[in-house]
């Protein structure tokens, strides 16, 4: 089924989004490029090829829900939402500024298209599980997606949520782990090892799908498989590269939470073929 995504086109589009993302972080002067770039391709596919939504009517009851549990990477979500027309692209340049609709971490009451606020790690899967349980209780078809970090897997609440989602057989829930192998203090394996992460999710009763998180066909295929899986929730463990697309940011823990300066932006845009 994955053939219905034009991989060439997706790649070209995501390059434009990466450029927007870097420009907005440069304008903000702070923010989190690393984990934004690592999950951007997944968010692009999810919003453009998977989720039911209506950007003209962001509160439409029939929409699928998305929870950005790792709220610090909201620049990635913001460029995807702006691209779909949830709000004008010009707003991107107001990120993190006083009075902006784009807060430093997601705030649902200011940004059209956000289903919930986040920023305190570890809570998103619980919220998503509650959404999925409510939809199920009412026999509604909404699906719920939650994007988590790999460092975030260290939070105990994630495993409380994992246990409950399997217990309630929430097959309308799909978690994604952006497995970029880095957190603030360094390699996830060194800071606090989460491996074997797929086995852990399996042991908690989840359907586990491993993919390359920058391969558009694999991403779409995984979401389709998640939808087909009945009786249990699915988690997609996506192997990704933190800082993906910008050579000097790739796999560097230091680019977790630092914005590119003008010089660095220029260099990055050049690499993406988007200078000027």
């Amino acid at each position: 089924m994955a053939q219905n995504i034009d991989v060439q086109e997706a790649a070209a589009h995501c390059t434009l989004l990466r450029a927007d993302l870097l420009r907005m972080l440069n304008a903000a002067g702070s923010g989190h490029p690393g984990g934004s770039l690592s999950c951007l391709d997944i968010l692009y596919v999810l919003y453009n090829h998977v989720m039911k939504q209506d950007p003209k009517n962001p509160k439409w009851d029939g929409r699928d829900r998305f929870v950005l549990s790792k709220g610090h990477v909201n620049p990635a979500l913001y460029v995807v939402l702006a691209d779909l027309g949830y709000f004008p692209k010009s707003e991107l340049m107001t990120l993190r500024k006083f009075g902006s609709i784009l807060q430093g971490h997601p705030y649902m009451h200011k940004t059209p298209g956000l289903d919930v606020s986040s920023g305190s790690l570890g809570q998103g899967l619980s919220v998503a599980a509650g959404m999925a349980a409510a939809a199920k209780a009412d026999g509604k078809p909404n699906r719920v997606y939650a994007m988590m970090g790999d460092g975030e897997q260290e939070e105990g609440e994630i495993w409380e949520a994992a246990m409950s989602a399997a217990h309630f057989k929430l097959d309308n829930l799909c978690g994604i782990v952006d497995h970029n192998h880095l957190q603030i203090d360094g390699n996830v394996e060194d800071v606090m090892n989460i491996e074997p992460i797929a086995d852990k999710w399996r042991a908690f009763g989840w359907n586990v799908i491993g993919i390359d998180g920058h391969d558009y066909a694999q991403i779409l295929d995984a979401f389709e498989k998640a939808q087909e899986c009945k009786g249990k929730p699915t988690v997609i463990i996506a192997e990704t590269v933190k800082g993906k697309g910008v050579s000097f940011m790739e796999n560097q823990a230091g680019w977790h939470g630092a914005a590119p300066n003008d010089e660095q932006l220029k260099q990055a845009l050049k690499e993406l073929g988007q200078e000027g």
């Binding site: 619980s126 959404m131 349980a133 209780a137 105990g156 609440e157 409380e160 246990m163 409950s164």
Partner: protein, 324 residues
């Protein structure tokens, strides 16, 4: 402020745990709104949520012993139109899940109702770990959160019904032990409106929870000494009824607060925030003084921690003596 005549027998009140009112209130709320759900955490019978489960088994979610998930899961349900009542012992509900309450429930202003069971030192034999004495303070400092401490079972039932119909997060605190039923079905109750259960001119005793009863006992003792005490049931601690508090202070010129909670940050603090900025009068506060609880019989503990009529009388005299 409304004057409300309570008709119970001060010497021989009928006794009932306020948690019973929570169980009944949940069923009342669910009867009116099918979107009401209860979210538990392995403490279902002792919070009286089992009364709800009996009538609405499909609307109950037991999240197990996982308070953080319990709270954020409920938040997710509210985002889909449910009206979740999250119930747990106050210490674990407000304490363990505080960040979830802050960032997910309050920041988003979600329609989540918190039922804080086992409030106060009267929890008794379980001891300090289970005696919630700090929740009022850590809940009322959160933007969007509202806090109610009903006086008895009937008032808890009415508060539970009321918050089901109001939007946004509410914390309703109730206790484990039997307490005097000072109100009845017909006693008026409005969130955010304190009411006067006894008029007076020398001092105002402003109380919440079971301390309303103790304040009424204190007022009777004070009357014997020629002191006229007003008694106010300040069941809603946030939003606090500023008008009623100022009115009581103007009329009496001295205020005593009484609560089954730490003095720091509780109802007395809320009252003093109003009076010190709007109408300063001499004030004394009765409550737990920066100490943990311990095991014991509820009455024994209430007395050992100075949560009784005698302490309220002493505080009243101190407050009156401070008048110029």
């Amino acid at each position: 402020m409304k004057n409300v005549k309570l008709t119970f027998d001060l010497d021989n009140p009928s006794m009932k745990p306020s948690r019973d009112g929570y169980g009944d209130g949940l069923n009342d709320a669910a009867a009116k709104n099918p979107n009401v759900v209860a979210i538990g955490a392995d403490i279902t019978a002792s919070t009286r949520v089992d009364w709800f489960v009996k009538e609405h088994p499909d609307s109950f979610y037991d999240l197990g012993i996982a308070e953080q998930n319990q709270m954020a899961f409920a938040a997710g349900m509210s985002l889909m139109g449910k009206v979740p009542f999250v119930c747990n012992y106050g210490v674990f509900l407000a304490g363990r899940a505080w960040d979830q309450i802050r960032t997910t429930v309050c920041y988003n202003n979600l329609n989540v109702k918190l039922g804080g069971a086992h409030g106060g030192i009267s929890v008794g034999p379980d001891g300090a770990t289970h005696q919630a004495l700090e929740e009022i303070s850590i809940m009322r400092c959160l933007p969007n959160m509202k806090v109610i401490v009903p006086a008895d079972s009937w008032e808890t039932r009415k508060a539970t019904r009321a918050v089901a119909e109001l939007d946004g997060p509410y914390y309703v605190r109730f206790g484990r032990e039997k307490v005097p039923e000072i109100t009845d079905e017909s006693t008026p109750f409005e969130v955010g409106k304190a009411y006067c259960v006894q008029d007076g001119t020398d001092v105002a005793l402003i109380a919440c929870g079971v301390m309303v009863y103790h304040s009424m006992l204190a007022a009777r003792e004070l009357a014997k000494e020629g002191i006229s005490a007003m008694v106010v049931n300040c069941h809603t601690i946030k939003p606090i009824d500023r008008e009623a508090i100022v009115e009581a202070a103007k009329k009496t010129g001295a205020v005593v607060t009484a609560e089954e909670h730490q003095l720091m940050g509780g109802m007395g603090s809320a009252v003093s925030e109003v009076l010190s900025t709007e109408y300063p009068v001499p004030m004394q506060m009765v409550g737990v003084q920066d100490r943990f609880g311990q095991s014991g019989d509820p009455d024994e503990l209430m007395n050992a921690y100075g949560l009784n009529a005698e302490e309220i009388c002493k505080a009243a005299k101190r407050a009156i003596a401070m008048k110029k």
